[in-house]
Symmetry: C2
């Protein structure tokens, strides 16, 4: 319940960032976020270099929001912060995995994980051909993986 | 050890694809792949609509390769196939999580998972300022998460 387990100096964080290939997505890398205790995958998001540096130096997950086009700290408004326990870079240097201690619920819809719509069960909940937008309110499947 | 647990008809798979928002990445969605037995995150990749349909109808993971610009089935050359156990769509409909049975090793470098470079340990293995490319041979950290 203490603070984050992983917290680097700016110099160390900058050296980590040098190892990350941001070029394939125009300055972003995909990030996978896993619950350190249960192993459940909580969410997938993106980081730019600044979000990565902020995450590594503060010990709390920061992302680049593609829709809002700005840096944000997870939980900055909801309180559902994510303290970093471990960080892993993949073989190609173009994806990151973070293991975190999630405070509260990860999903803004109140679910433990953002991945709460199972296939094919979600087919049964389809209410028409209107597509992805319906999922925002299709949460009856909700226990999470 | 049998075949995939999740395998849909083309009609069902097409209905799932309708729920996925491919628009944010010009026709692609990020995909997280998790070992169904251990919960370890094995890799992160991308799917276009065709890769998703192929995955859901065959029960084996298919991806869109950004570097080779083509559809590929995981294991098509290495034999390291991934049989689908579960598939989950996230709250926004713009990311997918698959739980799979991995045959052999996931990583083309011979590691169990592609996420085998831990921060900050990878700093110790840095051999210069040349960046991400070094990681392809920086595998001494290798047990995987």
């Amino acid at each position: 319940m203490g603070g984050p387990k992983l917290k680097l100096s700016l110099e160390e964080a900058s050296r980590v960032a040098e190892r990350v290939d941001f070029s394939k997505m125009g300055g972003l890398v995909p990030v996978v976020v896993q619950d350190a205790a249960t192993g459940s995958v909580l969410m997938q998001a993106f980081m730019d270099r600044e979000a990565l540096i902020k995450t590594l130096t503060t010990g709390y997950m920061h992302y680049w929001s593609r829709s809002r086009r700005r840096l944000w700290m997870k939980g900055e408004s909801s309180g559902s912060t994510q303290a970093v326990e471990e960080a892993w870079l993949d073989c190609d240097g173009d994806a990151l995995l973070f293991k975190v201690v999630q405070r509260g619920q990860c999903c803004h819809e109140g679910f433990y994980t953002c991945f709460h719509n199972e296939v094919p069960s979600l087919l049964a909940s389809a209410q028409g051909p209107s597509g992805a937008k319906d999922l925002r309110h299709g949460g009856s499947l909700g226990q999470g993986p």
